[in-house]
Amino acid sequence: MRTSFLSAEDLSADASDQSEQIVRVLGWQARVCAPQATLAQLRSLVPQPAADRVAGAPALTIAVTPDAPMGFRVIVSGQPENWRVAEDELPLLLTNLITTAALEGLAADYLLFHAGALAWRDQGLLLPAASGSGKTTLVGALLAASWRVGSDEVGAIERHSGRLVAFPRSLNVKAGGRAALAHLFPELAAAVPWPLGAEQIWPLRPAGNAWLTSAVPVRHIVFPKYTPGERSTLHPLTRAEALAHLLPLEFNAQQLGGAGIDECIQLVRDAACYRLTIGDLADAVTLLQRLGEGRE
């Protein structure tokens, strides 16, 4: 099934009243009750399918209500704790709450990896790596090179088909990534950062037509690691090495047990696997571009 995503430009914000929004992530959905301006920001961070294709009750309800003097209180259904946050903290907090809940809700139907995900000419590329490895920066650079984006954070593989699909949300660019990507995305240089805990985030919103809109086979699994001062290189991995690196980066490995591991084995059997040392970002993109075009 093909789908498409609305871009931020398609959305308009009416900053007046409290409103309600169904937020869909693959086959999972949440209901969010919040000020309309917050919902508009949320839609820009979690692009929504242009066509409704999910029925049934939302798995989660999030209510955002004014709470002077801090700003807002966030209450999540089924959870005893709530959050009191300032207005500028709301969008990324909501995005993270939705992402975390969606990962749990989708765990039975998808292999979910801590990974960047992209496609070049309907050939999927998975970039599994822990936080701080340079995934978001690399995904941003590949986006600028016209790759289709699935995610900078969650690689979602349909269990029934073994194919990669988009887990759409804005790219959470941090300060280092912003410096590296500013020449590719001038809007990052001018943007005001949003707080997320102790960090500052510059959301990078791919255009509606930049998203991966259909399920694609995973042809390459590349484990990136940003290593300042090193030359950008691509080293082949054995499939067993790749699997040993991949399993700890699977969000739902423990839930899926042996069946999930067997599906991961099939994934690495069907893909060519590499370790990517990222020194110079442009060189790393060139290496992946050659890989995508079958010239590596």
Binding site: T238, R239, A240, E241, L243, A244, H245, L246, L247, P248, E250, A253, Q254, G257, G258, I261, D262, I265, V268, R269
Partner: protein, 103 residues
């Protein structure tokens, strides 16, 4: 973690004649001629080369380290003394990673 090529050498297990046995929470998955060990308690994965995989399969609680080493020596055509040192080292590392226990 690549156990078969890890550097530290531990002698704790080799100092006593225990019988190594794999932990129930660890599943083993062959891929090509290597073996991936997945620890469901921690979510960590470990990689054994084909030599390590041979030793792993013998760690069923019925054999001492010495007996495992004799079988490894015969299988790979190496001196028993060398096999014993290698098996002790590997078993110690697996034990240290809580992938096997020695009773």
């Amino acid at each position: 973690m690549m156990l078969a090529t890890a550097a530290p050498v531990l002698r704790r297990v080799g100092a006593r004649p225990g019988r190594p046995r794999v932990c129930a929470a660890v599943s083993a998955h062959p891929l090509d001629d290597e073996l991936i060990l997945y620890d469901e308690r921690t979510g960590e994965a470990h990689l054994l080369n084909h030599t390590g995989a041979f030793v792993w399969r013998l760690c069923d609680g019925s054999r001492t380290v010495g007996q495992v080493a004799r079988l490894a020596a015969a299988n790979f055509g190496i001196p028993h003394r060398q096999a014993l040192a290698d098996v002790r080292e590997l078993v110690a590392m697996l034990n240290d990673a809580n992938l096997i226990f020695v009773r």
